[in-house]
C-alpha cells in the first residue's frame, strides 16, 4: 500500500536561517507531488506541484523553493526564513488521472521566531 512520510513534525527556526522539509512517498511510481501551506490553522494555499523529476511549478511568488531530486522525494527549502513563513506545511501526492484524489502527509508545523 502507498504511504507518505513527512518530517519533521515540528520545527522552530530563527529568522534568516535556512529551511529544508522533506517528503517521501512509498508504494507508487511517478506520483504528482504537492506542497501546501496552511496559515493560522485554516485555508490551504498550494505552493508548488511537480509532475516528474526536476519538474516544479510554483503557484505563488515567495521566499520558498521546491525540488524533486528523485521520483518519490519532494523537498521544500528556503535560504533565509521570514517571520511570514510560519505555518503548517502539508505534502501531498496523487496519481495522474486516477480521479484526482490527494493523499496528505501528517504535516510540519513551522514556527519562525
Amino acid at each position: 500500500s502507498q504511504t507518505i512520510h513527512q518530517w519533521p513534525a515540528t520545527l522552530v527556526q530563527p529568522v534568516g536561517s535556512p529551511l529544508s522539509l522533506e517528503c517521501t512517498v512509498e508504494g507508487t511510481s511517478n506520483p504528482n507531488l504537492y506542497w501546501y501551506r496552511q496559515a493560522a490553522g485554516r485555508g490551504l494555499q498550494l505552493l508548488f506541484y511537480s509532475v516528474g523529476i526536476g519538474q516544479i511549478s510554483s503557484e505563488v511568488p515567495q521566499n520558498l523553493s521546491a525540488s524533486r531530486p528523485q521520483d518519490r522525494q519532494f523537498i521544500l527549502s528556503s535560504k533565509k526564513l521570514l517571520l511570514s513563513d510560519s505555518g503548517f506545511y502539508l505534502c501531498a501526492w496523487s496519481v495522474f488521472g486516477a480521479n484526482e484524489k490527494l493523499f496528505f502527509g501528517s504535516g510540519t508545523q513551522l514556527s519562525v521566531l
Binding site: Y34, A92, N99
Partner: protein, 116 residues
C-alpha cells in the same frame, strides 16, 4: 477564475442532529468536487468526491454530499452528528492547469463543532 467558497467559518450542531456544511464553486466546464476532513495538527483525509453520475455522493464515516448544478453547490451532510465528527472540513475543486490535472483548490475551511 475557478474557486470554491465555504461561507461559514463554523457550524455548531448538537449530537444526534443532522448537519450540513456548505460549499459553492465556480469552475469552467464540469466540476470535480471533493470534501476533506482535518483533525487537529494532522494532514487532511479524503471523505468523498463527485466526478459524474448520481448527484448524491456517499463517503466515509457516514457523510454524504449533494451536487446541485443549478445552484453550483456541493454541501456536505450527515443525518446524525457525532461528537467525534468535530473537525475542520474543506471543500475542494479540481482545476485544469497545464498537464497536471490533479491540482485542487481548497476552500477556507469550516470548523464543525458537535456538542454532546
Amino acid at each position: 477564475a475557478q474557486s470554491v467558497a465555504q461561507p461559514e467559518d463554523q457550524v455548531n450542531v448538537a449530537e444526534g442532529n443532522p448537519l450540513t456544511v456548505k460549499c459553492t464553486y465556480s469552475v469552467s466546464g464540469n466540476p470535480y468536487l471533493f470534501w476533506y476532513v482535518q483533525y487537529p495538527n494532522r494532514g487532511l483525509q479524503f471523505l468523498l468526491k463527485y466526478i459524474t453520475g448520481d448527484n448524491l455522493v456517499k463517503g466515509s464515516y457516514g457523510f454524504e454530499a449533494e451536487f446541485n448544478k443549478s445552484q453550483t453547490s456541493f454541501h456536505l451532510k450527515k443525518p446524525s452528528a457525532l461528537v467525534s465528527d468535530s473537525a475542520l472540513y474543506f471543500c475542494a475543486v479540481r482545476v485544469l492547469y497545464g498537464g497536471a490535472t490533479n491540482k485542487l483548490i481548497f476552500g477556507t475551511g469550516t470548523l464543525l463543532a458537535v456538542q454532546p
